[in-house]
């Protein structure tokens, strides 16, 4: 019998990827296609949902042919997706109503201010566990209703469907206008501000508040469950999983027990901590979110800390300052010196995210003396990622009773040994990198394979996880505390630079 594989689709912010995994969770083939980023106005970011669907139609056959695998050998398909990106489309024609509004888009900022004043964040925190922010989809639906003529009425008449990217792709994969399934999963629905965090169902009070008619919403399903079969692209393959990308990475890192955490280092960084069946309300600036829901089992929750700028600071150093010609060279430059020379960079380019949530912060470089070279600046660039991780981990340790025993990491920046050693040093816990760096795709594959019976249980998946590298903490405790103190003073200097702070 021919070997069977699980297909994973990662619909990300920059590209759509299709990856095949084998039984031992090893990557067999990868096909990827980037889509265009549209910036029609400052702060606006849009994607063309049709272009993304077309890209998926290309990468799926490509991944199969690269591996020499036939359709019959695909046991199941799982989806992971950029979260919160919002698309509305016509139920009858399948045509999107304009471009998708991407999670980075800040056009709803005035609405956020308004909601914080009235009804205030408690109203939302009690229901969906999210404070109003430009991230979340409900605000975008409201914005579209208020700014695009006729959309609200058409939605009320049941002509318009809403979805995040997984809903859009699932609907198209299962037949589109010809009987496509309109679904989402709890991890994605949980990022709309419309889902009740306890019941995992659409919340009537929130729907009323935002004026979102129920018929436009997809059905909320578990993250791993047989949804249906593909009718387009590949016929008859079970679709069995959908997760938001960060939750997928948590799943791919096999953080299945309360207290296990992962951090994905990309342009920004996302740290998620599994808190088990407990909905932990953060007092330290973290978000409460659904980690995953497998079939009819109770959901697992997570605390999430997001850092706006990590890899983006290295890109800025490369593209705007021109001090390096490729991102990995930051390590080469940083290694030309022994330490940061007393220099700190706080990359609050558009404010600070977790745990500060200060939109009035702006970037600062402090501790400049005539002694400072570009090597010291390169160190400070890398250290900024380390200290920001430390702040989020501190918040997690304050919100959750079990201190973090180790941090599982993934993402492009994990190739930077100097940085990973620094993260271990400042957290004072081991930092480990798994053998499969593509944890988002792997997580979607794991969830899909689990629901399809390709893998029997979580324990088998856990045994697939192997350590590719480990960094052990080696920094002297006194030095760590002194430097952390310096970092905190640097952060203070970044606050309040852009206009008056609002009370958040």
């Amino acid at each position: 019998m021919a070997e069977r594989y699980v297909m994973s689709v990662d619909q990300g912010t920059n590209s759509t990827r299709c990856i095949l995994f084998d039984h031992r969770g090893r990557l067999v083939s990868v096909a990827q296609r980037e889509h265009r980023q549209h910036f029609p106005r400052p702060g606006w970011v849009e994607h063309d949902a049709v272009e993304i669907w077309q890209n998926l139609r290309r990468v799926v056959p490509e991944a199969l042919s690269l591996a020499g695998v036939g359709t019959a050998q695909v046991a199941a398909i799982g989806l992971a997706n950029q979260r919160e990106t919002t698309v509305l489309w016509d139920r009858r024609t399948g045509a999107p109503l304009g471009r998708a509004i991407v999670w980075q888009d800040t056009r709803t900022a005035p609405l956020v201010e308004e909601l914080l004043r009235h009804p205030g964040e408690t109203f939302f925190l009690e229901r969906c566990a999210l404070p109003p922010s430009t991230y979340f989809s409900a605000l975008r639906i409201r914005w579209l209703f208020d700014h695009v003529k006729g959309v609200e009425q058409r939605a009320r008449d049941g002509e318009v469907l809403f979805g995040t990217m997984e809903s859009w792709l699932l609907w198209n994969l299962t037949g589109g206008a010809d009987g496509g399934l309109h679904l989402t999963d709890a991890t994605n629905a949980g990022r709309t501000m419309l889902m009740n965090i306890h019941t995992l169902a659409w919340d009537d009070e929130l729907l009323d508040f935002f004026g979102v008619p129920r018929p436009m919403l997809p059905e909320i399903r578990p993250s791993a469950e047989r949804y249906g079969e593909t009718r387009a692209l590949l016929p008859g393959i079970p679709l069995t999983a959908a997760l938001g990308d960060q939750q997928a990475a948590l799943f791919g890192q096999t953080c299945f027990s309360p207290g296990e955490a992962k951090c994905t280092y990309g342009t920004g960084a996302f740290l998620l901590l599994n808190t088990g069946g407990e909905v932990v309300r953060s007092r330290h600036g973290l978000l409460t979110t659904v980690a995953y829901k497998i079939g009819d089992q109770p959901p697992a929750y997570a605390l999430e800390g997001s850092i706006a700028v990590t890899g983006a600071l290295v890109q800025w150093f490369r593209d705007r300052l021109g001090l390096i010609s490729s991102a990995p060279e930051i390590e080469t430059l940083a290694r030309t010196v022994e330490d940061n020379g007393g220099c700190y960079i706080v990359p609050a380019f558009s404010g600070l995210f977790a745990p500060h949530w200060r939109s009035d912060a702006r970037g600062v470089i402090v501790g400049l003396t005539s002694y400072i070279t570009k090597g010291h600046l390169a160190r400070a660039v890398l250290e900024a990622t380390g200290w920001q991780t430390r702040e989020v981990v501190d918040a997690m340790n304050a919100d959750f009773p079990v201190p973090l025993p180790q941090l599982k990491v993934d993402g492009g920046m994990t190739s930077d040994n100097l940085l990973m050693q620094f993260v271990a040093d400042v957290l004072d816990v081991p930092v480990v990198r798994p053998m499969v760096a593509e944890t988002v795709s792997l997580g979607a594959a794991y969830a899909a394979g689990l629901a399809a019976g390709y893998w029997p249980d979580l324990e088998v998946l856990r045994r697939n996880w192997h350590r590719a590298a480990q960094w052990l903490p080696g920094m002297d405790a006194e030095q760590r505390e002194t430097e952390y103190g310096d970092w905190k003073r640097a952060v203070e200097r970044s606050l309040g630079w852009a206009g008056p702070p609002h009370t958040h």
């Binding site: 031992r24 090893r26 990557l27 490729s326 991102a327 990995p328 060279e329 930051i330 390590e331 080469t332 492009g412 994990t414 190739s415 930077d416 040994n417 053998m435 499969v436 760096a437 593509e438 192997h466 350590r467 590719a468 590298a469 480990q470 960094w471």
Partner: protein
């Protein structure tokens, strides 16, 4: 301070001469143009040919600039970038082979380990990025020597150190082994550095096919080699596949 080295000045003049004209030049033309004895010019041209800075046309015997010279300014590849670009493929190689994977580049007559992926058995292992290995007694080093990425420094003290009785400490045996590596496209090291350990390595090529580093896997000799003491063919093909994939990513079109 010593003055300029005459032979290097002459070599530079020959390179300028070859770069200046539109056509290949014969030995006589080179010697005459620069006012050198034919024997002197021939010695310098042969040395330049040896380091690939000059090529000799097989049919006419005339000389032109070599490919290596053309890549001299553009071949620089940051080791951290090499690691970053190799990450996924090195992981996949470790996962498939079940062995530890390392990437090496030359540094001052030795091999610098620039990337290390643990053997996927979750045993305690220490990251040895930054470690230095001997060129002649490691599979990574043999690849770097064979493809001219590293050069053994001949004036370096007492010659090639013998780590075990299998080490190729004799320069002539090493030269023959390196010729075989060039022929095969991969290198093996069987108990030449440490008894009981073995490794295999293949070249990573950058733009224009220039070898910029080596990728290898290593482990206990009984796992790396078959019953006849030869490296297992399955491991070799996994290794070469990974090396080709990284090379493709780095822009080595033909690999």
């Amino acid at each position: 301070m010593a003055g300029p080295v005459q032979s290097i000045e002459r070599a530079a003049a020959i390179l300028r001469l070859l770069a200046g004209g539109p056509r290949r030049l014969g030995l006589g033309e080179v010697a005459a143009s620069l006012g050198l004895a034919k024997g002197t010019a021939h010695g310098i041209l042969r040395t330049l040919q040896h380091v690939d800075f000059v090529e000799q046309d097989a049919a006419t015997g005339k000389y032109q600039l070599g490919a290596a010279l053309l890549h001299l300014g553009t071949s620089y590849l940051d080791v951290n970038e090499l690691r970053s670009r190799s990450l996924n493929w090195a992981d996949a190689l470790a996962a498939r082979s079940g062995e530890a994977v390392r990437l090496g580049t030359p540094l001052e007559g030795r091999v610098l380990v620039v990337h290390h992926v643990f053997r996927p058995d979750d045993s305690f292992q220490t990251l040895d990025v930054g470690a230095l290995l001997p060129l002649h007694a490691s599979s990574l080093g043999k690849v770097l020597l064979a493809f001219g990425t590293a050069t053994a420094e001949p004036d370096r003290a007492p010659g090639l150190e013998a780590y075990t009785r299998h080490t190729l400490a004799d320069p002539e045996r090493l030269a023959r082994a390196l010729a075989a590596v060039r022929e095969a496209g991969w290198a093996a090291e069987i108990q030449e550095m440490t008894m009981g350990e073995a490794g295999i390595a293949a070249p990573i090529r950058g733009h224009g096919g220039l070898v910029v580093g080596a990728i290898g896997l290593s482990g206990p000799v009984e796992r790396i080699c078959d019953g006849q003491g030869r490296p297992r063919p399955a491991l070799i093909s996994l290794l070469r596949e990974a090396a080709r994939a990284i090379s493709r990513d780095l822009g080595a079109a033909r690999w």
